[in-house]
Assembly symmetry: C2
Homo-oligomer: 355 residues x 2
């Protein structure tokens, strides 16, 4: 820490992203990336844009917003495009939360919410999940706070129904409810269809997971045009050219190839079922996931030790040290052959330990 | 404005970027872009990276930081990489300014400083430039504030010497001094050589201008490792994957082709001289620019009207409405043939008005 750091940041604890090894030796099942390449249309569009980098990217992101609006049944004024969905989430904390409107989110959820609150000096409450890691919807009703819900939740993979989300929206008419749908398209219902009816709803999504574009950094938010306007005021007050032109082009390319995305989602859901079943055969408990990962625990195995042993054997999964989930590992769903290789290694290192 | 916006943002006035027309009909001399394509090595590297977008970009930006450190004579721990230099500038306001350490910058300078201060709730003082738009260095000595100086300044193009910058650094030992070198490489001296000696110096640069990569969004900061650490704490608390993998690759490619960048800089400086001389021939006063733009005024022409007439005739320049500079236009230096076309149109629309 330098002697110039402002005092209110002296205790700021940043987010810890999952390991991103520089070499290729790992079966990488730790950061919920897609095992599939991006759409050929996305790649071709990005390559074309690379030739004209001397000009600024479009700060309005108009062409991409139009395409997103078309696909998600919204108007282009209801869409904001950001540098990954982390950026739109941070903007939501900046824009809609302060000491009088604290944030509220689950105790077990995307670990970044707590950091966004801290960096923006926003008070927050953590609402404990039920014993089985489901959300108790009543805990979120009429609470007079800006609510952040990852749906499906991370790292559990458990999703809320649209009815539950609607109940939360209705009971908090004077507060923004952010539904963070990073893993949409893998079985959970999207709340985007509710945007027309609820002016307090912001749905955030990303191209990182099902669209295989984590490295391109592309996220977006859909909501009432007034709240999108507010978010854009903040965007234009921090970084108006927040999305580069290659990524904008790749996004448009990807949206022109919905069949490819849907086919990949289908495969991931099949591999998720395979992985869940194989884990259960080996005595693991696996939460019901509607994401591209599963969250699993074993009565006889120490989860941290398992994570380390897997890493020694060139498999990366993610382990969190948080008390309530320290007995679990989060395993990203890869290709079928990656998952088969994972089980081969798992069986080898656990041998007699697995029942 | 929505009813959910936090009250402290109700009066937030965002930055207004220069016009970015969607069609190609303009000679675009309004946003200080390079008229040259990026290095072929940059393009090739970006294209290659486009194929592997399913994996997250490197949050440490290690390979690019190593290369930047090598080129700028720094250590990799002294370099932070950001989504354009706007992002590192915003981080500096977030990290080093608060009510007890206000910001200070010129009254005529990069218009975003004021917005960064506002969005971060940082008080600021604007220090008037001299009548001739030069900086009075003594105004910045011992002022106990976090200082932001664009060098060369925008939109004037006028640069400070290294001696002047050193004087400011020495006289403000307990405050960060940010030297914003967006236009480095076009004749002004870089302060990066002072980083080793002054732990209160942060130099920011961008690939947007001389490296022809405005559309890629790539900026960086060089300073003492402790202040870089602080900036990284903020980066990891807002958006750890802030730079996408195509842009990281393009940056490395560009740095492998320094000859190309230098040749382009030389051409721009030649065209700047040509443009300055031609403007003077027509009765304009032109400030001494060490940037890729000139700032010019004419005793008989209304600058706003000229801007509008040029736009009607498919030439975009930039006009600011700020009182002290409302009689000026900022003209980006394009290729020689673009500048010749500009003068042809200028002469046509002004005809008898020019002496």
């Amino acid at each position: 820490m330098s002697r110039f750091l402002k005092p209110s940041f002296e205790k700021l604890v940043p987010y810890t992203p999952g390991e991103q090894p520089k070499d290729n030796k790992y079966i990488k099942l730790n950061t919920n990336e897609s095992p599939f390449a991006p759409s050929k249309k996305a790649i071709a569009a990005a390559k074309k844009a690379a030739k004209k980098l001397q000009l600024y990217s479009d700060p309005e992101c108009l062409a991409l917003r139009e395409k997103l609006a078309e696909i998600y049944g919204a108007k282009k004024e209801q869409v904001i495009v950001t540098n990954g969905s982390d950026e739109v989430l941070n903007f939501a904390f900046m824009t809609f939360c302060d000491e009088n409107t604290p944030a509220a989110f689950a105790d077990i959820t995307y670990g970044f919410y707590k950091v966004f609150a801290a960096v923006n000096n926003v008070p927050f409450v953590e609402i404990p999940l039920n014993e089985d890691f489901t959300i108790n919807v009543n805990d979120y009703c009429g609470i007079n706070k800006t609510i952040f819900i990852a749906n499906p939740n991370a790292p559990t993979g458990i999703a809320l129904t649209l009815e539950d989300i609607e109940k939360i929206l209705i009971s908090n008419p004077n507060n923004i409810v952010v539904i963070d749908e990073a893993y949409t398209g893998l079985g959970a219902q999207s709340a985007v269809s509710l945007v027309e009816r609820y002016d307090n709803l912001l749905v955030t999504m990303t191209f990182s997971k099902t669209r295989s574009m984590a490295g391109a950094r592309l996220g977006f938010g859909i909501g009432n045009k007034d709240i999108i306007n507010d978010l854009n005021t903040v965007r234009y007050s921090t970084n108006p050219y927040n999305v580069n032109s290659m990524t904008l082009a790749a996004g448009i390319g990807s949206l022109a190839d919905e069949q490819y995305t849907k086919a990949n989602c289908k495969t991931i859901m099949e591999n998720r079922l395979y992985t869940t079943n194989e884990l259960k055969k080996r005595g693991f408990s696996v939460l019901d996931s509607l994401s591209n990962f599963v969250f699993a625990t074993h009565p006889k195995l120490d989860a941290n030790e398992l994570y380390l042993k897997l890493k020694e054997n060139s498999v990366l999964v993610r382990h969190f040290t948080l008390e309530r989930i320290k007995d679990y590992n989060r395993i990203t769903i890869g290709t079928k052959s990656q998952m088969q290789a994972f089980f081969k290694i798992l069986d080898k290192i656990c041998q007699g330990d697995l029942k």
